[in-house]
Structures are given as structure tokens and as C-alpha cells.
């Protein structure tokens, strides 16, 4: 399966900030329910989050949305700093988090330029009625453990198994992460970057595509699409 390299493209122009991806991710990946206190303490967990920025001066103001998830960097700053190999790179271009190796130094989160890593400060709890809704394919993380977007690795693994068993690659080709599946505007596109026919690999090299914080040199597998503003330089200069 090493001819597969998973990646995602986020079209910022299409994102309406509806947060469906956040909810989909939470129910897929057994993320504990964030209460008020988790937000006020800056300890909420959301493997994908929608950052909102305001553009322009009142009254001509626009809200801009930027979904941020783990960028699955090819040259990930979080990987070499972990003393116990709790995070490493696999042969499918993904940045893997191994929960039961994590000792909780939190160095990886410090070193992540995207704030894509989340720490379990509390032991996660759900109302009892929710117990049957938890995804049996995903480990529930205890307190003291770092977690982050896994590109829905459980779906990838399941599809790979099916493909191997049936000798049919279709199961892999149709694979979607929970966030991409839930996105009503198709702003999130997930797929195999090594397949030149996939939608994601075509969008990946689009002229609109850019990388978050490119100066750090993380070589992410997640890229963003944004309308090219020819006057951006002038606008920035005017400030």
C-alpha cells in the first residue's frame, strides 16, 4: 500500500463556517463533548476547528473561515521531539499518533506550528446515554494523552483490509474522512495524492493552492485554496 499518499485540500473560498466538519469529526473519533469551561480555559478538543477572522473595516466587514486540522506534515516538527516515538510518520504520508506510547511531555504540541495537537487535561466523560454512540473502531483517550487528527485512520485501515481481501482497489478509491464527507459545500476534499486522476491531486497543484505557514518548511499534505487577489500586495501596503 506504499503507493498511497493521503492528502487533503481545503477550499477556503467555499467554506461557509458551518462547523459540520467539527461535529462529524467529534462523533467519528470519540472526542469528548466540550463544555463551556473547556473553551474558557482553552482546553477544548477539536481535531478540526474553524478559525474565524474578520476582514476589512466596519461597515464593510467580511468573516473569513479557515478550517485547520493536522497538516500531516512531510517534515513534521512534532515527530523528532517525542522521546518515546508516540508520533511518527507512516509510509502513507500520514502523521500517526500512538496513544499508549504517549507519556505526556507535551513537547509535540509546543512544537506544532498549527496548534493542531490537543491534550486531554481531564479524563473524558460522556453522558451515559451516549455510550452506545461511541465509535468502536476508535480508542477513547484517557487523561494525560496527546491526540490529533488521524485522517480517520480507522476508515483507511478498514478499507485497506477490504481491498486486500477482495483484491479490489475501489474500496480505497472511494474513501472519505468524516469531515470531508460532512462538508456541505465540498470545501474539504480528501484522497490519494499519488493517484493523478483523483480530485485531490488535481486540486493540490491548482494555482490557487497555498500552504499554511510555508516559511517553517513543514511540507504539509494538507493544502489550502484561495482566490488570488491581485491587489493583495497594495492592500497590505496601505495598512
Amino acid at each position: 500500500m506504499s503507493d498511497v499518499k493521503w492528502g487533503m485540500v481545503v477550499d477556503v473560498d467555499k467554506c461557509s463556517g458551518c462547523q459540520a466538519c467539527v461535529i462529524a469529526c467529534m462523533s467519528e473519533n470519540n472526542i469528548p463533548i466540550n463544555l463551556d469551561r473547556d473553551f474558557t480555559e482553552n482546553r477544548s478538543i477539536a481535531w478540526i476547528r474553524v478559525e474565524r477572522y474578520w476582514e476589512g473595516e466596519y461597515p464593510d466587514v467580511k468573516a473569513r473561515f479557515l478550517p485547520v486540522l493536522c497538516q500531516h506534515c512531510g517534515n513534521a516538527p512534532c515527530e523528532p521531539v517525542c522521546p518515546v516515538y508516540a508520533t511518527f510518520h507512516n509510509d502513507q504520508g500520514m502523521n500517526i499518533q500512538v496513544y499508549n506510547r504517549c507519556v505526556g511531555t507535551r513537547y509535540c504540541a509546543n512544537n506544532c506550528p498549527y496548534h493542531a495537537r490537543y491534550f486531554n487535561y481531564r479524563r473524558p466523560t460522556w453522558p451515559e446515554t451516549y455510550n452506545n454512540y461511541l465509535n468502536p473502531d476508535v480508542t477513547v483517550r484517557d487523561r494525560g494523552i496527546m491526540e490529533k487528527c488521524s485522517f480517520c485512520v480507522q476508515r483507511i485501515n478498514a478499507a485497506t483490509r477490504i481491498a486486500k481481501r477482495e483484491g479490489n482497489e475501489d474500496a480505497i478509491a472511494g474513501l472519505q474522512t468524516a469531515c470531508a464527507q460532512a462538508c456541505p459545500t465540498d470545501a474539504l476534499v480528501f484522497g490519494n495524492l499519488n493517484n493523478p486522476n483523483s480530485e485531490v491531486s488535481q486540486l493540490y497543484d491548482d494555482e490557487r493552492s497555498y500552504v499554511l505557514q510555508e516559511s517553517i518548511g513543514t511540507q504539509p499534505n494538507v493544502r489550502y485554496l484561495k482566490k488570488i487577489d491581485e491587489h493583495a500586495a497594495e492592500k497590505a501596503h496601505a495598512h
Partner: protein
């Protein structure tokens, strides 16, 4: 010229060994403040382990807080032992004699206390063994040597081993002394510890050679330990942590805070154990002079750190510098830090009268300790709060009561261990004190015979 007490060996034995053979009220009372601090810390850590890390002020993106700041501070303090004993031994500064052991022992205890911090910091201490022990257990995975967090334990345990060897060999003659003066079980235990010391010329020679060798060998470790601790930060991609100046900056800051801590310790030892005959004003004078140079070097690096950011004009680094200089509470912290660790003490120490005024030296050294603790906070926290170019997750870290209690307890713990150590062996090496008496008589400058210690501390009066 100062009056110096002439001491006989019997008097030295009596004045230095009383805490070992008796338990006087002033020694017992000195245990109380550290015990109070420690009990606070034990309660705090118990709550933390039971409840989880939410009881701290840690959050996103400030995943490191008071524990790491305190860890770096105590690693820094541990540099005093080597500074005082190894460097001063190699440069043959005779005045260091009475303060070497206290400084070396403080090195060991501050290292032990600092090693506790990452364990508390991770929140689940039972997991730490996977990280700290370079062994694969049943997991088939060895620690990742690319991680600075693996370099840390290696550097620190090397330094700890070296320091323990250093202290232990220096202790052997004193173990023998206590062995010879005691009976029963105590004699047996100290006899074992003295490793058959008889005080023969050969044994003295070997001990001297070992001391010199260790001093030379431990110097690279001395430089590397805090460099490696600084690389926890400098190796990361966090703006304003990611600077090459951090390693020398941390080392010189470590020496500044460590030697100031030795000053504090000297004053306290002199007071608690009545060591007026051994720790003189000359010693405070000498350490004060040493600190003037070290503190000025530290100030140079303080400015250099800013210079690097202003030179590159990288926006994120400038945001951190702006936070350090202008935003509450870091503007206050910066001002307090610069004043307490440089602007107030150094001009005072320039005056010989102040350097010989022990209460004043005590309080100024406390000021430097406060300043250098804040310096760690100043270096570590603002950068991590302003890590991201995307401003959405900028935040302010506010330490919780639990974290503050642990910080206070670390001070109590070092004090407690030192007091306990004083019960076992004299904090001023008796053999060095006696050797000092002999050396003092030997020094001659032309026709003038002068005490040995004069050589170092009062050159201007000699000629």
C-alpha cells in the same frame, strides 16, 4: 587587614562536627520552614496526580508552564557547585575552601529536585519510566535519540554522577574523622563510608589527583548540561525560542543564579551553624566580585537575545519581544528581572563595604535569585503564548495555586535535604579547613609572610 581567627584542629573538629554529634535547637528549628513548604507541595502533587493536569494553569498553546520554568531554574542553580569547586580549584583560588562542599551538595540536591519536575509535569508519573530509562521493555521501541527530551536525562544523570563522585571523594577524610570520633553503629557506618581511609600520604595524593582530574573532566559536562536544557527550547520551531544564543545565555544565567544561591546559602549556613570562624567576610567579598563579572556577561546576552530578533525583523519574533517588553504582566516582569538581577545588586557590590556586609549580601543575593527565576519565566512563557502566526489561538497562561505550591516546595526540598545532609557530615569540609590553616602559614611574598587566603582576595593591599 582583617583579624583572622587562629584555629586549632580540635577547635575545628568541635565547631564543624557539632551538627553531626548533637541535635541542637537551632538546627531542629531550621527544619520547620522547609517542612511547611514541602507539605504544601506534597498536597499539591497529590491533588494533581489524582485529578489530572486540569488543576494547573496549562492550556493551549502554553503546554509548558511553571514546572518547566522551575526545572530550568534548578538545573541552573546546580551549576554553582562546579563553578565554585571545579573552576576555582583549577584556577587555584584558595578562598573557595569552606564553601566548596555546600556548593557541590547543593548541586546534587538541586539536580535531584529538578529531575522531579518533568515527572510532575507529565502528570502521570508511572509512565515516565518509558521515557527516562533507555530500555525497550516489552514494547520493542527504544527512546528516540533525536528528541532533546532524551538528551536531557543523559546530560543530567552524567552531571549528577560526576557531582556525586566529586562530593563523595571530598567527603572521605571527613567520614574517617567522624569514624574516629564515634563508637558503635555510627562508627561502623562511617567506617564503611570512609573506605579504609587512614590519612597516609599516598591516600592524600590520590585524593588530590582525583579532585583535579574530576574538576577538569566535569567542565565539559558543566557547559553541556545547561546547553542541552536550553536546546529543549532552541531546537523547537517556536519563534524566539529558536535562537542559537540560548545555549550560552542559559549557561551564563545558570552560573549567575547558582553562585547567587551559594551566597544565600553561605549566609544561612553561617547563621544556622555558627560558622563565623570559617565563612568570613572575605568569602562574601570574593563571591561578590565573581558575580559582578558573571552578571555583566549575563546582561550582554540579555541584550543579544533582543538584538537577534530586531536584526532578523521576523514578525513572529517581534511579536514575542513586544509581549516581553510592553504587555502586562511581562513588562513588569522584565523590569523587575533587570532591576533585581542586575541594576540593584551590581552597583551595590561594586562597593567593598557592601561586599563585606553579610546581611546586605544575603538580601541582594535573594534579589538575584528572584530575578533569575523570573528570567526563566520571561524566556519561556511569552514565546509559547504567541507561537502561531495565526492569531486565533493566542492565549495567556496564568499559573494556578497548585503549580505555585510545587515551585515553593522545590525550594523547601533543597533546604530540607541540605539540613539533613548537615546532620550526616559537616557542611564545611573539616580537612579542607585544616589544610587551609596550614596553607595560610606557608605563603610568603618577598620578605612578608601572609595568610594564604590573602593571595586571592586582597591583592591591592599586598604591595
Amino acid at each position: 587587614m582583617q583579624d583572622r581567627p587562629t584555629l586549632t584542629p580540635t577547635q575545628i573538629n568541635e565547631e564543624l562536627l557539632w551538627p553531626v554529634f548533637s541535635f541542637r535547637k537551632r538546627h531542629a528549628l531550621a527544619f520547620i520552614p522547609p517542612m511547611i513548604l514541602i507539605s504544601g507541595g506534597v498536597a499539591a502533587v497529590t491533588i494533581l496526580i489524582y485529578q489530572g493536569l486540569w488543576v494547573t494553569g496549562l492550556q493551549r498553546p502554553a503546554f509548558w508552564g511553571f514546572f518547566i520554568v522551575n526545572f530550568v531554574f534548578w538545573i541552573g542553580v546546580s551549576h554553582a557547585g562546579t563553578m565554585i569547586s571545579a573552576i576555582l580549584r583549577l584556577t587555584q583560588a584558595e578562598w573557595k575552601r569552606p564553601i566548596t562542599r555546600a556548593a557541590e551538595v547543593m548541586t546534587i540536591f538541586s539536580l535531584v529536585v529538578s529531575l522531579l519536575h518533568p515527572v510532575i509535569h507529565a502528570g502521570r508519573p508511572w509512565r515516565i519510566i518509558y521515557w527516562l530509562l533507555p530500555y525497550d521493555f516489552s514494547r520493542g521501541i527504544w527512546p528516540d535519540v533525536r528528541s532533546p527530551l532524551v538528551w536531557d536525562p543523559i546530560a543530567i544523570t552524567t552531571y549528577l554522577t560526576g557531582s556525586i563522585l566529586f562530593v563523595f571523594t571530598a567527603l572521605i577524610p571527613d567520614f574517617a574523622l567522624i569514624r574516629d570520633q564515634s563508637s558503635g553503629l555510627r562508627k561502623k557506618i562511617y567506617g564503611r563510608l570512609a573506605l579504609g581511609w587512614r590519612g597516609t600520604p599516598r591516600q592524600w595524593k590520590l585524593q588530590g589527583i582525583f579532585g583535579l582530574l574530576m574538576s577538569a573532566l566535569i567542565l565539559p559536562v558543566f557547559v553541556s548540561v545547561h546547553s542541552i536544557v536550553s536546546w529543549d527550547f532552541a531546537v523547537s520551531v517556536v519563534p524566539a525560542w529558536h535562537v542559537t544564543v540560548y545555549a550560552p545565555y542559559f549557561v551564563i544565567g545558570a552560573v549567575h543564579s547558582g553562585v547567587s544561591m551559594v551566597l544565600t546559602l553561605m549566609a544561612l549556613m553561617r547563621w544556622i551553624f555558627k560558622l563565623e570562624n570559617y565563612i568570613w567576610e572575605d568569602h562574601f567579598d570574593a563571591v561578590g566580585r565573581l558575580l559582578i563579572v558573571i552578571a555583566t556577561l549575563w546582561l550582554f546576552f540579555f541584550f543579544l537575545d533582543f538584538a537577534y530578533s530586531f536584526y532578523t525583523r521576523e514578525e513572529q519574533e517581534l511579536a514575542v519581544m513586544e509581549r516581553r517588553l510592553f504587555e502586562w504582566p511581562f513588562n513588569a516582569i522584565t523590569v523587575i528581572m533587570v532591576f533585581t538581577s542586575y541594576v540593584i545588586p551590581i552597583p551595590l557590590w561594586l562597593s567593598r563595604r557592601v561586599r563585606r556586609n553579610i546581611p546586605l549580601m544575603f538580601w541582594t543575593s535573594i534579589l538575584v535569585n528572584i530575578g533569575m527565576w523570573l528570567e526563566r519565566y520571561f524566556l519561556i512563557i511569552p514565546a509559547i503564548e504567541r507561537k502561531n502566526e495565526l492569531t486565533f489561538l493566542w492565549s495567556n497562561y496564568v499559573p494556578s495555586l497548585i503549580e505555585s505550591l510545587v515551585v515553593l516546595a522545590s525550594f523547601g526540598m533543597v533546604g530540607f535535604l541540605l539540613l539533613l545532609f548537615a546532620k550526616v557530615v559537616p557542611l564545611v569540609p573539616a580537612w579542607e579547613a585544616k589544610e587551609g590553616v596550614i596553607f595560610r602559614e606557608d605563603v610568603q611574598f618577598g620578605e612578608v609572610t601572609l595568610p594564604g587566603i590573602i593571595k586571592e582576595t586582597e591583592e591591592e593591599n599586598v604591595w
